[in-house]
Symmetry: C2
Amino acid sequence: MNFSSKLLETAVGEFSKLPGVGQKTALRLVLHLLNQDKDEVEAFSKAISKLRNEIQFCGVCHNISDLTLCEICSAPKRDRSLVCVVEDTRDVMAIENTSQYNGLYHVLGALISPMDGIGPSDLEVDSLVERMRTDEVKEVIFALSATMEGDTTIFYLHKRLKDFNINISTIARGIAFGGELEYVDEITLGRSITTRVPYDGVTAK
Amino acid sequence: MNFSSKLLETAVGEFSKLPGVGQKTALRLVLHLLNQDKDEVEAFSKAISKLRNEIQFCGVCHNISDLTLCEICSAPKRDRSLVCVVEDTRDVMAIENTSQYNGLYHVLGALISPMDGIGPSDLEVDSLVERMRTDEVKEVIFALSATMEGDTTIFYLHKRLKDFNINISTIARGIAFGGELEYVDEITLGRSITTRVPYDGVTAK
């Protein structure tokens, strides 16, 4: 692109580093910001800078938090014997939205991905193992993406955790509710047949 | 969404004000920035703030520029008798990319849109009329979107410019190169028949 201004080019360049944002989209976003009040753009710029410089993580579960112990870890009513292992804070939010889970979390921060150079040491694994030693944990639930990286991570974590006296489980995989059979991929459909569950005449579990 | 951190919520809120960015995308972008080096995020934040505070516009054509007279307006080799009227800097970039135009530009900054409360006074119209008086302009080309707003703006500008001794034209409309007839809308197809052009046996013009 031929930019008429260096300032414009720099801003577009920074925006187009974001995932899924190409040069055209970046230009559209930058021109949008140019049309906003100076105060609003300053607020936008400050929010990003402040977030990166002042962000904190919970000392126990490593979820993003403004406190050294996050609201979930410090809540007295939550079941401290359950730990759900997730990749990042988005997964915590997604599970919290279901209102079906009342235990604690452990945020790994990433999944093992040799292709991207991410090994076990880049994940919050040691602190998870430590929690098994010190906490009153009875069950660890792996809620990781059903991808190669997720499966690799589960495999590795299982090896690290299997000697502790705890139950280890993963979230159920199968046909999504509302999903039509003809559009489901072969692997999911095949697995959902081999891992079929008893039907009690009332609801599909 | 249930955010575990106020800082995170603020940053996501700011991002989701951008056009076409919903809360989920905003969260993805913010988490991406959180994974970057502090310096890089600071550069991102600064580029936006600096752009908004220091941006300048060419005093003649109103295109975004770091100089008081933009590179196009000050280029000695460009045809000063041609002025192409466009909506914003993206259109200037698009036309420059074609390498088919060697005249000057006039950036209106917006199109007349009563629905959005944008009237003629919000556009750089007076300075365009002024250029007709003082400059050596022989032809004005309207290169505006083929929308209701574009047509309204052309209609209004034509009324303001018609008493000057200049040619007024609009860019050609019709079937796009590579376009298949069956997918073209009726209005474009109908108009392209009524405004058909002679064929000289060599190339479609």
